[in-house]
């Protein structure tokens, strides 16, 4: 068999299957699974023998085909349920192939449209315009979310791992963490310990958070309460602490 044609031009396993179906002039609603499976596996062998990378999806499809083939070989067990008899093991695959074929056709029609910069061209040189028209407050801003995301990804990718570590290490100090916690407390009056370590933060930061909380208690700037054993530990600003008596004080015990 001549497999050497069109090896890398397939868009995926479905595309390859459609090609085999067309080549063999097969009715897509009645696919001879044994034949198609052996040809499909033959293609995969050729790709492997050429040491080309084989995308995982091709292997998944190979497994699917083999599975369908084995189910086709089983005698139809009639256990009284009519639905079982109608259940063609190929049905799901056929549905998938037809749907893919539809969008492949749609892609073909789309490519056939008059394409900008290929079939039709816009005005080449825009008329000279003074560029001072911009920079006003109420002008609409045109933006693309993807661009924003890309900008961030690019920047983060550009940062060396070492940079990032140094960056966070430098940023971290006990005093700063204490200040941060005090900021939250003065704003909200209270905060849960899990809330303080909820953000995806480093181990080091968790340790600093813990140390900061201890320090705040020592300085009597905050109190820590727990409403029940193993319950949520809450941190309160020390100034207004008439808290109800049902809570168990664990801090200054």
């Amino acid at each position: 068999m001549s497999y050497e044609i069109k090896l890398d031009v397939f868009e995926g396993p479905l595309d390859l299957l459609l090609y085999l179906i067309k080549k063999n002039e097969i009715d897509i609603y009645n696919i001879p699974v044994a034949l198609i499976t052996s040809q499909y596996l033959g293609y995969l062998d050729v790709i492997r023998s050429l040491n080309l990378d084989l995308a995982g999806e091709y292997l998944v499809m190979a497994a699917t085909l083999t599975h369908i083939k084995s189910r086709m070989l089983l005698p139809v067990v009639s256990d009284g349920e009519d639905e079982e008899e109608k259940d063609d093991p190929r049905a799901e695959l056929v549905k998938q192939l037809l749907e893919y074929q539809t969008y492949k056709d749609a892609a073909g029609l789309l490519s056939g449209r008059p394409l900008l910069e290929r079939d039709v061209f816009k005005l080449g040189a825009p008329p000279d315009t003074p560029s001072d028209a911009v920079e006003k407050d109420d002008i609409p801003v045109e933006a693309d979310l993807f661009e924003l995301v890309e900008a961030f990804r690019r920047i983060m990718a550009g940062l060396e791992i070492g940079d990032a570590l140094e960056f966070s290490a430098e940023k971290l100090s006990l005093a700063e963490r204490i200040n941060e916690i005090m900021e939250i407390l003065s704003q909200d009056g209270q905060v849960s310990f899990s809330g303080l370590v909820a953000e995806k933060i480093s181990r080091k930061r968790i340790v600093y958070t813990f140390l900061a909380v201890l320090e705040l208690i020592k300085l009597r700037m905050a109190t820590v309460c727990q409403s029940e054993p193993f319950g949520e530990i809450r941190l309160f600003l020390a100034v207004k602490e008439e808290g109800d008596s049902s809570v168990v004080e664990i801090a200054e015990a």
Binding site: E11, G12, P13, L14, D15, A55, E57, M61, Q96, E99, Y100, Q101, T102, Y103, K104, D105, A106, A107, G108, L109, L110, S111, R113, P114, L115, L116, E117, R118, D119, V120, F121, K122, L123, P126, P127, D144, L145, F146, V149, E150
Partner: protein
């Protein structure tokens, strides 16, 4: 030429994106939208019947001047650049986004039977596809749709101008008969 038509012509020409009836109405307060739409269409008809090198085309919700399709070989020689082209995988992905939008990546992957991440990124970069939101299901996957630029590049007035998938099936069966 009537002055209003002349002004409209200048505006369409100078606008950086297809010029819509709505935008024209914002500038031409004394004309109603239907009147403006009429003027647009009359102007487009004039250019068409004139048989020159440029036409006034309705695209992406507005009108723009562009070269007549028959001029492509000549203009292509002038531009001296490789014409815009899309890989089959890009076209397949674009077709799925266009017809199934709003759509998430998993759905596209499923239909194509392969991972579409790289292709999708390319389409986002070319601004043919855009992020329209997040789906309210576990994992909050990103939802994609086609952009206005998609309409501009493929010379479509709006999405309804795309042939329906039913027409597509007819197209396929007629193709099979031809073969």
């Amino acid at each position: 030429m009537e002055e209003k038509a002349a002004i409209l012509e200048a505006l369409i020409f100078a606008a950086e994106a297809p010029f819509s009836v709505e935008k024209a109405a914002g500038i031409f307060s004394e004309l109603s939208k239907p009147e403006i739409a009429d003027l647009f269409r009359k102007l487009a008809g004039d250019y068409e019947s004139r048989g020159g090198g440029i036409v006034l085309q309705e695209v992406a919700g507005g009108f723009r001047f562009q070269t007549r399709i028959e001029m492509a070989p000549w203009v292509g020689r002038l531009k001296n650049v490789r014409p815009a082209s899309f890989s089959p995988s890009a076209m397949e992905t674009l077709a799925i986004v266009a017809y199934r939008q709003p759509v998430i990546k998993a759905e596209i992957d499923k239909i194509r039977g392969v991972d579409t991440g790289g292709v999708l990124k390319g389409l986002l970069e070319k601004k043919l596809v855009r992020i329209v939101g997040r789906k309210d299901v576990p994992g909050k996957p990103i939802i994609y749709g086609t952009s206005k630029r998609f309409l501009e590049v493929f010379n479509l007035k709006d999405l309804s101008e795309l042939p329906t998938l039913r027409e597509m099936k007819d197209f396929r069966s007629s193709e099979e008969i031809e073969e």
